[in-house]
């Protein structure tokens, strides 16, 4: 492990294959995935339903182990990491989360401090500061004393972002963070993530479905298809009508915005 590599690369998947064990045999999801995230990278991960985007995130957190290849974090294979040490560095915004009933937002965001817990029963002042900061960063301060089950979809998503930020991670993995959000909330949420990355050097990998949103949000887009990363680069190069047709089987037209950015427009359905 060279010092240079250690300082630049946050996490990587190298030749990673994964299949889910099924009663009638194995369902292969990832065949050979290579993906490297440098410190401070902001990457949108795109692909069809079932292409393995969520599986890829689970492999990055070590919840799943690859059948072949290796997943590294800070240069070390994930198998060498203790779960607790990893949780102090990597936070996940899951696609689906059943929130327990009766907890207030502050209590749930406090659960994000679990990997940093130092005392048996009490929380430390560092915990309470981190929670306040996470709530503020996620735009959820005014939700602090609300019950989680009373939140709207957008408020709920801000709560989940605050929980992930309370972990004070270096790597943030977002699984469809804009699900169920209206356009204003989508933009606000991704704006927050982007600002945190710019200000704190957070490394972010976000699974997104809206290609134009991905292009507006991330300076780098990776496309997952047939168990491989088939394209990886700036959205202007990667998100072409040909690629969309090949990966999604959908015809789109290419248009230009007044400021010269590419926009992919659906044909009439």
């Amino acid at each position: 492990m060279t010092a240079a590599l250690r300082s630049d690369v946050m996490t990587s998947l190298e030749g990673v294959a994964f299949a889910y064990p099924m009663p009638e045999g194995r369902r292969e999801v990832l065949r050979s995935v290579d993906l490297t995230l440098a410190r401070g990278d902001l990457v949108a991960l795109v692909g069809t339903n079932g292409s393995g985007k969520t599986t890829l995130l689970r492999l990055l957190t070590g919840v799943l182990r690859p059948d072949a290849g290796v997943v590294r974090f800070e240069g070390r294979p994930l198998t060498d990491w203790r779960r607790l040490d990893l949780a102090r560095r990597v936070a996940v915004l899951p696609q689906q989360l059943d929130l327990p009933v009766g907890f207030r937002v502050a209590e749930l965001v406090g659960m994000g401090r679990a990997p940093h817990a130092r005392r048996l029963f009490a929380s430390t002042e560092a915990d309470e500061r981190a929670v306040a900061r996470a709530l503020a960063d996620a735009g959820a301060l005014e939700l602090t004393d609300r019950f989680a089950e009373e939140l709207s979809g957008g408020e709920r998503q801000r709560l989940l972002v605050a929980m992930a930020l309370a972990q004070e991670p270096d790597l943030l993995l977002l699984d469809e963070p804009t699900l169920h959000l209206d356009l204003a909330h989508q933009v606000a949420l991704l704006g927050t993530i982007r600002r945190l990355r710019d200000q704190r050097g957070l490394t972010v990998l976000a699974v997104l479905h809206d290609l134009n949103l991905a292009a507006a949000f991330a300076p780098r887009v990776a496309i997952l298809d047939d168990g491989r990363v088939v394209a990886d680069g700036p959205p202007a190069e990667v998100l072409s009508p040909e690629l969309v047709r090949r990966v999604f089987g959908v015809q789109v037209d290419e248009a230009r915005t007044p400021d010269g950015r590419r926009h992919l427009a659906l044909r009439e359905v």
């Binding site: 919840v63 929130l99 327990p100 009933v101 009766g102 502050a106 679990a114 503020a136 735009g139």
Partner: protein, 370 residues
Amino acid sequence: MRAAATASTKTQTVHTGPSLTRVTVVLGSGAILVLTAMVVAVAIGSVGVGVGDTLAILGHRLLGLPLARSVAPGAESIIFDVRLPRVLTAMLVGGGLGLAGTVFQALLRNPMADPYIIGTAAGASLGAIAGLMAPILLPVLAIGMGSSWLGLGLVQVLAFAGGLGTVLLVYAVSRANGRVPVVTLLLTGYAVSSVLAAGVALLMFFSGQHLGAIFGWLMGSLAAAKWTNLAFAAPLLTISAVLLIVRWRGLNLLLLGDGPAANLGLDVEREKLMLTMLATLATSTVVAISGTIGFVGLVVPHVLRLAIGPDHRLLLPASVLYGAALLTVADLGARVAGGIPVGIVTALIGAPFFIWLLRRSRVVRPVVTP
């Protein structure tokens, strides 16, 4: 979201848990309730002793204080040899059931869960009934074992082993690819319980003159309480309670689901195994000395969750105290009502109270929203 950016520059803190005042009030009231219930329950009975004399006798025997002369002859024996072991048993059993119920409801993410749900009750019942019928089934074994083992009867030993053994079996069967999904655990527990319940029914069918004893055991009763049983149960329950209460954080995280809990640093499978086994140890111990008393382990966690919230940091110790107080009062009721099994009292009064509570609280709270 824009406004929040400025707020983040201030150094402020947000409290994420119950305040010290709240903890003191909730647990302090619980402790006072338990002690009051204990003294009252010891004082009341077919021979009236009075609270003053009861306190004097308890102070004399437990704390070594000089005994006032006014105490009636025989009262000391009634209090110390008969009522105190029974009341202490009620406290231990109620506390154990409250705690185990809280753990299983959170662990299985199921509001219907109680301490018996994954097979403890069925396994313990089969063991206990086998013990009760041992003179018929295996006369040689019954004589060979004698009437006591570590001061426990054959019924207690077999009930304890039956409960613990059944859950070990259920857990092992539910395990696949190194994981134990809680839904599988729940369903396997149900299936295994059904098989064992068939065994219980079969034994009852051929039980003859033992049917009354079997029925009393299944209803749950504290009539057989004695110091030797307490000496067995108290250490086991204390250990499991302490080890469960310090796992409050893991239990909170598991409410989020296995995946999110793992992402927050929890060794999920190990934690689930520890929680299941500790809660089962508590339940099996309780069942061995009292039979299967229903409803306490279901109602106490729900009432407390509605009253003080779902944070296990406070909920776990509170469930011990309030469970203990509840069963002490229920058993007093059972004694006053002519010595009926306490399980009848808990069901008769507990269930309507629970329904009233569910209707009164505007929001019926499940453990997890789907």
